[in-house]
Structure formats: structure tokens, C-alpha cells
């Protein structure tokens, strides 16, 4: 049916979001940050400001992150690749609209209390 040289027909979800991630980030493919997938993103204010430099996805992140949410969760909720969300976070951090807290490296945990809390918590589930 399909000719090998035919453009693939992308419809509905196959076509992805109407605004492609590259357009959303104005062509920036590489974020400046290397945020961990479990870095916690927290908005610093209740509503996004009116700012010509922001796209709707920036506003969505601020809405989503009224409570701390991991980078991977933000990406999953927005249906955007992690890299795209990192670029958007660059913009928001620069405007001080979100704070991003990197996870503590496990090797620096001072004692085993976190492990005990996790084990206890899992048993209680």
C-alpha cells in the first residue's frame, strides 16, 4: 500500500503535540542544567506572571509544581521529553519562578535512618 518514499501519515496522537518540542523551546535542544530525573521542582508563586517570554508549557509547570514534583513527573504530566522540560526549567529558574532541588547523593546520607524509614514504610504499605 504505502510507497517506500511516501511521507509517513501522522494523524492524531501519532502526530504528537501541535507545537513540537523544538518550537516550544525555540529550537534549543540542549538544556544548560543537568537536573536529575528526581530533582524536585517547586513553583515560587501561585500563578505564572504575564511574560512575553513564556509559553503555555511554562505556565503549566508552575501550575503543576505548586507542590514539589520530580522532573520526571513534570515531563510525564506534560507529555514532553525530559530534555524539553529541562530547557523549559532553565527559563523558569532564570526568572526565579521555580526552585529546583537536586537529590542528595545517597553516599552522603549521614546515617541509616532513611533506610530504616523506607523499610518500615514499605512494610506498612
Amino acid at each position: 500500500m504505502t510507497r517506500p518514499d511516501a511521507e509517513p501519515l501522522w494523524v492524531d496522537d501519532e502526530a504528537g503535540p501541535v507545537v513540537r518540542p523544538y518550537a516550544m523551546t525555540r529550537g534549543r535542544a540542549r538544556p544548560r542544567n543537568g537536573f536529575n530525573v528526581i530533582s524536585l521542582v517547586t513553583a515560587t508563586r501561585a500563578a505564572p506572571p504575564i511574560d512575553v517570554g513564556l509559553v503555555p508549557e511554562h505556565a503549566r509547570i508552575i501550575e503543576l509544581c505548586q507542590r514539589p514534583l520530580a522532573l520526571a513527573e513534570v515531563a510525564a504530566h506534560l507529555h514532553l521529553p525530559l530534555g524539553t522540560v529541562r530547557v523549559l526549567l532553565d527559563d523558569l529558574v532564570a526568572r526565579q519562578l521555580v526552585q529546583v532541588s537536586e537529590p542528595r547523593p545517597p553516599a552522603t546520607l549521614p546515617d541509616d535512618s532513611v533506610f530504616e524509614a523506607l523499610i518500615h514504610g514499605l512494610r506498612e504499605l
Binding site: 518540542p21 535542544a29 544548560r32 542544567n33 543537568g34 537536573f35 536529575n36 530525573v37 528526581i38 530533582s39 524536585l40 517547586t42 514539589p68 520530580a70 520526571a72 513527573e73 515531563a75 510525564a76 504530566h77 521529553p81 525530559l82 530534555g83 524539553t84 526552585q99 532541588s101 537536586e102 537529590p103 542528595r104 547523593p105 545517597p106 546515617d111 541509616d112 532513611v114 533506610f115 524509614a117 523506607l118 523499610i119 514504610g121 514499605l122 512494610r123 504499605l125
Partner: protein, 203 residues
């Protein structure tokens, strides 16, 4: 930028976020295990890689840079106000080591799920975690209750360090998946030399 000094931001009370990786071959039950213990349906996140970021053959001369989308499923378990544990299924294909590095960074440890009918499928995961020095355990997912080999045989076949725990599990079952995570956490603690009183699994 200062990523490590997050203590300064403790004015906002943030939970401690931790992660565990769930690895193993394709179809071994990684997402099933995540779903069994996660408080939400597993979420899916994607990373778009240009082929340059993927460990494939030299692409010199290939003009059109193709991209690959790699999906990762993950779940979360919240413990009270101050602890959140994320469980990340690793992308199944061995060639996305770039992404594995990203996932492994800052992880507490890993569970390697194994299927005794296709034991070799978990070799790359084991090699990877050994190479990274990330503590891991092997959990043999018992499909249809089939138990073809003893745990000792699995340990031998995988050529594991004798300290690496090997256990049976049923990734569909919440209790069993909880025990897998607890066994990993105890193993990680032991490696840190922090175990005060070793507990028996299931006590």
C-alpha cells in the same frame, strides 16, 4: 550552578527524594513490579536522543540526523511528609547506556529482574551495575510459578559475587514486590556498613 547545596533551600520543606532502578530484560516484568507497589499507575517519561547520543555504529556521512525516543516507566511511593521513593524501570535496550547513566546517578540501588527461561537477558544489567559499583540484588520473577532452577544455580549461572542477594519473587504481587525492595534496601545498608541488627526478611 550549585546543585549539591540544596540545604540552603530548606526554608521550603522538601521531602527527601530517592530512587531505585528496576532493570532486566525485555518483558521480564519491570513495569509490573513498579505497578505492584506504586501509589499511582506507572507514569511514562520519554527522552529523545539524537543518534549521536546512542551507542550505535559510526554514522559519519549520514546527513539526516535521526532521533530515537526511549520510554521509561516509573512509579512513586510517598512515605509521610518527608520521604518519596521513585522506582524507575530502565529502558530495555542495551544500547541506551547514556540514559542508564542518567537514571543511575544518585540511585540507592537496583533490582535486576530475571527470568530463568531467558537468564542471559539480565547479563547486561548485571554487568552495568557491577561496573558502576551500584548495589543491586537479583530477583527471579516466577512466571506461572515455574521454578526451574534453585537460587544457588541462578547465582552460579550469573557468576555473582556471593554477597549479592538472589531471591524469588512474583512481580504481580504487592507483598512480594515489597519484599524485593526491602531486600535491596537491607543489602544497600549492609554495604554501607550501617546494619546494626540484621533483620530477617518477612519478619
Amino acid at each position: 550552578m550549585d546543585y549539591e547545596n540544596s540545604d540552603r533551600e530548606d526554608r521550603t520543606i522538601l521531602p527527601t527524594a530517592l530512587k531505585i532502578l528496576i532493570a532486566g530484560g525485555f518483558g521480564v516484568g519491570k513495569t509490573t513490579l513498579v505497578a505492584a507497589v506504586s501509589e499511582t499507575q506507572p507514569l511514562r517519561t520519554e527522552e529523545v536522543l539524537s543518534e549521536r547520543g546512542v551507542g550505535v555504529d559510526d554514522l559519519t556521512g549520514v546527513e539526516a540526523k535521526s532521533t530515537t525516543t526511549v520510554a521509561m516507566d516509573f512509579g512513586r511511593i510517598t512515605f509521610g511528609e518527608d520521604l518519596v521513593l521513585y522506582l524507575f524501570g530502565t529502558p530495555g535496550q542495551d544500547r541506551f547506556w547514556f540514559l542508564w547513566d542518567e537514571l543511575a546517578l544518585g540511585a540507592l540501588g537496583a533490582v535486576v529482574l530475571a527470568d530463568t527461561r531467558r537468564l542471559a537477558d539480565c547479563f547486561p544489567s548485571i554487568d552495568y551495575f557491577e561496573g558502576q559499583g551500584l548495589p543491586f540484588i537479583v530477583a527471579v520473577n516466577c512466571f506461572d510459578g515455574a521454578r526451574q532452577y534453585s537460587l544457588e544455580e541462578v547465582q552460579m549461572a550469573l557468576n555473582l559475587d556471593p554477597d549479592v542477594p538472589v531471591m524469588l519473587c512474583d512481580a504481580r504481587k504487592r507483598e512480594s514486590s515489597k519484599e524485593v525492595l526491602i531486600t535491596l534496601l537491607q543489602h544497600v545498608m549492609k554495604g554501607r556498613g550501617l546494619t546494626r541488627k540484621p533483620e530477617t526478611v518477612g519478619s
